[in-house]
Amino acid sequence: MINSRFFNRSELLGFLSLLLLLAVILPLFLDVFRLNLVAKYLTYAFVALGLVMCWGYGGILSLGQGVFFGLGGYCMAMFLKLEASSVANTKIQSTPGIPDFMDWNQITALPLFWKPFHSLTLTIIAILVVPTLLAFIIGAAMFKRRVGGVYFAIITQAIAAIATILIIGQQGYTGGINGMTDLRTLNGWDIRTDHAKVILYFFEVFVLFACIIAAQFIRLTKLGRILVAMREQEDRVRFSGYSVANFKIFAFCAAAMFAAIGGAMFTLQIGFMSPSFVGIVPSIEMVIYTAVGGRMSIFGAVYGTLLVNYAKTMLSESFPELWLFGLGGLFIAVVLFFPNGLSGIWRDHVARHIDRLIAMRSSKSKKAWAIKSAADGAPAE
């Protein structure tokens, strides 16, 4: 069970209210269409959660999280696409049994790297391992050579640019700019029905909470404290006998894995994956979700993601031209005025009052207890 040592009071409050919101209130009050929209937002919350680990705690700003989100999403999409491209479904193609976009690009046999995605087990392994491995390679190359800060941010951004251009350019293998569409079933279970969407929503919430608990666990170990220490005094950590690079690699890999899980969820929920979720723009938007929620706050990341995406949907439905002004303003406002985001505002303006209330009540009861024990002749604490 979750005890008070694992979560402190305000974290427990955050955890329970988030659980209540996602698992009870939203499913009760939203129709399937809106719930599916929330499910889509939540897939970004995985990325935001990863960024809390690597940016908030580790101080490593990655502007390429879309790459990992996309990799996870594409791995899932490849499995679903293969299932949707059975010989029976594709008999009108010149080569039946391969995805339609391959057929359009005169590819006549399934490429080798697609083959493992016939198996769901291998697909799940790929979703978890491939992005993490890429993060490991990038991280090892950069952090071992002490590349960090802005340089790391820009290079990850360049990698996001490369990934998008590559996916769009290699349309025979990736589906190009349209991405992988027309995904239908997961092991024969139709993921497009309303019923499936609701089940997938609850599955996603479950996985998200598993990730939140994992992140909280990491935060509370010595590793979590070393990340914080590293962000402030990298040299001191190094000269306390730690390999700073390895810890950064770990944080970056963890963030990549969270992002990849989110990407896979996205594919399942929305039924397609495309390069528009991989590149520079989506990657940096994912950073702002974290910043709005509070870069140090695990729950803030989820709330921030939900809020920004909700605003985006509202604004771009009614005033599309206002959205970019709003988003741009948000970047500036968060940096200039609310560096700790929503969780900072909560902590400074709301939690303080709650604390004071509780402190008043407990001091009253303590006083009562002290009087009582004094009366009993017992030593007061």
Binding site: L61, I138, A141, M142, R145, R146, V147, G149, V150, Y151, A153, I154, I155, Q157, A158, I159, A161, I162, I165, L166, I168, G169, I280, V281, I284, V287, I288, A291, E321, L324, F325, L327, G328, G329, L330, F331, I332, V334, V335, L336, P339
Partner: protein
């Protein structure tokens, strides 16, 4: 991929693509120059640098339209006027931004990165609202069109030569300002020791503002050059920011020569490869090579060994 061509053909192809890449080279140099000055001076990565460039491009477009409709007799010279106006417009906007935003964010490089990204989104939407979402192109005056026949197989575009000469001129002026003038000495003094520079009577705020303005102004000129290789749209600048930053880092930040050499290498590699494969694959290969090299040699090509 070279198998289908004879040596002579290859030479001609490389030369032609090389000259075709001159404008790209110029845009890179001018953009990188501005970015490097700002980065070197205040440790600020200006993610909105591409939008300052695009402002210059729009100003150039407006100027060309104005000359076409009001002063058609002077049209051949509009480009010079446009460049000056582009410099002034982008520079002025830069100083405004420094005053309103950047000066609050010194010493927080990652935050400036996010804030200037936000600024770039706002500018993009502003361009879209003012100039429309459609891309616009400018008409070149007669004397800049066409090309000079050097040999049977090699032609040199005149506008490419023109822009490159201009770029080298601007680079020299900037080098003079930064390394020889009194103002440049003040700038470098502020870079090296902000507190001390302030203590000996240098107005560091003013130095910062003008430096940022200068960097953005040069980006505006880059925008003028840019109108010759591409049409101008609200988001055209965004594509260049990553490239330009890679140019700066690849050359080794703080090295003027390095910046020029790396801009040359990157633009030439890109332009040459474009002949042999699709533009997108050429771009992927160029970027991938640079990122690969930077992973092995993060300090860039021409970095000095400095005491940390």
């Amino acid at each position: 991929m070279f198998g289908d061509y004879s040596i002579g053909d290859l030479g001609a192809i490389f030369a032609m693509q090389g000259f075709a890449g001159l404008i790209l080279f110029s845009v890179y140099v001018l953009m990188a120059l501005g970015l490097a000055i700002i980065f070197g001076q205040m440790g600020v990565i200006n993610m909105a640098h591409g939008e300052f460039m695009i402002l210059g491009a729009y100003v150039t477009w407006l100027t060309s339209n104005f000359f076409q409709s009001h002063l058609p007799s002077l049209f051949s010279g509009y480009f010079f006027v446009a460049m000056v106006l582009a410099f002034i417009a982008s520079g002025a906007l830069g100083m405004l931004v420094e005053w309103g935003l950047i000066r609050h964010l010194y010493k927080r490089p990652l935050d400036t990165l996010l804030a200037t990204w936000g600024l770039s989104l706002i500018l993009q939407q502003a361009y879209r609202s003012v100039f429309g979402a459609r891309e616009v192109g400018v008409e070149l005056p007669q004397w800049m069109m066409g090309s000079k026949q050097v040999t049977d197989t090699i032609e040199v575009p005149i506008n490419g030569i023109f822009v490159m000469v201009l770029t080298l001129g601007i680079t020299m002026v900037v080098a003079y300002i930064m390394y020889k003038s009194r103002w440049g000495r003040q700038v470098r003094a502020v870079v090296q020791n902000r507190v001390m520079a302030g203590a000996v009577g240098i107005n560091t705020e003013k130095v910062d503002r003008y430096t940022f303005g200068l960097g953005c102004g040069i980006a505006g000129i880059a925008g003028s050059a840019f109108t010759m290789i591409g049409s101008t749209g609200p988001t055209s600048g965004q594509l260049y920011i990553v490239d330009t930053f890679l140019v700066v880092v690849f050359g080794g930040a703080a090295s003027l020569f390095g910046t020029i050499a790396s801009a040359f290498t990157i633009s030439q590699a890109q332009s040459t490869m474009e002949f042999f494969m699709s533009g997108s694959m050429a771009k992927v290969l160029t970027l991938l090579t640079i990122v690969g090299i930077l992973m092995i040699r993060p300090q860039g090509l021409f970095a000095l060994k400095v005491r940390k």
